[in-house]
């Protein structure tokens, strides 16, 4: 178990290094919902290339992992596709409305000591845990 914890902390350091690189090179926050969402609406023409490139790297990472060690690291979905659709709508709508997700608020925002991001992170963690509690321990789980 401690091996997993070490890998997890190392993964966190990699995520942080990515955020620092993006800030040092382009002066941008590494917030995934913002980087992707602005491609759907909002980003001007000259502001799209780096977003597409970043997302390309993100999508390419499991392929790289697969080439290096023979497994992508992607785990199977835990719920059936209608639940995935509901979850996706909530995640997309909520992160756009709230101005960030786990990366933009949870990592970059907290690292900037932003009170807004700290509040958002507390709220989405608490509601996330509450949702899991209701689904698993009150309703008895989603059939997947």
């Amino acid at each position: 178990m401690s091996h997993e914890w070490f890998l997890s902390a190392l993964g966190g350091v990699a995520i942080g290094a990515s955020a620092v690189l993006l800030m040092a090179a382009l002066g941008r926050i590494a917030g995934i919902s913002g980087i992707a969402g602005s491609l759907l609406s909002g980003a001007e023409k000259g502001d799209r290339g780096w977003r597409v490139a970043f997302l390309g790297g993100l999508v390419g990472a499991p392929l790289l992992a697969w080439l290096v060690r023979g497994e992508s690291g992607l785990g199977p979905p835990q719920v059936s596709w209608p639940w995935m659709a509901v979850a996706g709508l909530l995640v997309g709508f909520g992160t756009r409305l709230g101005g960030g997700c786990t990366s933009g608020h949870g990592v970059c925002g907290i690292a900037r000591l932003s009170p807004r991001s700290l509040l958002a992170t507390v709220v989405f963690m608490a509601v996330g845990a509450g949702t899991v509690f209701v689904i698993r321990h009150v309703l008895g789980g989603t059939s997947s």
Partner: protein, 138 residues
């Protein structure tokens, strides 16, 4: 050059998600289940990421501008409002249902599971819908 560095940053980010177990929704849902079989891995991911970013940002901000740009683009909003809280709550509910936040969701599109494409398509729709809301609404 900016695209190359952005691609590298994306690769690094995705690799971090994979190492941290965040691309496995079972691990993420396990973290969000402190009253069940709690899996603390995400805590280690967050700690590593926040510490690295906090230190790195401060070093980077000693410069006047990024390597490839005229200024740093930092969020200007200061006060918390209803949008922030409602948005974070809706996001948290979606995260708790499937165990995917935006980064792992997008990183998983190449995995070949059709339901991940449903998730990402719905995510795009949700984001687009929210962007259509009038600017001032609390």
């Amino acid at each position: 050059m900016s695209r190359t560095l952005a691609l590298l940053a994306g690769l690094l980010f995705g690799t971090g998600l994979i190492l941290g177990g965040m691309t496995q929704p079972a691990v993420v849902l396990g973290f969000l289940d402190p009253f069940g079989a709690w899996n603390p891995r995400l805590l280690f991911v967050m700690a590593g990421a926040v510490a690295t970013t906090a230190i790195g940002y401060r070093l980077v901000w000693r410069r006047k501008a990024p390597w490839l740009g005229s200024s740093f683009h930092l969020p200007t909003a200061r006060s918390a409002d209803g949008r922030l809280v409602l948005g974070a709550a809706l996001f948290g509910a979606g995260w708790g249902i499937a165990g995917y936040c935006p980064g792992p969701a997008l990183a998983s599109v190449g995995g070949g599971d059709p339901s991940v494409l449903v998730l990402v398509g719905a995510m795009a729709l949700g984001s687009w819908l929210a962007s259509r809301l009038p600017a001032r609404q609390a």
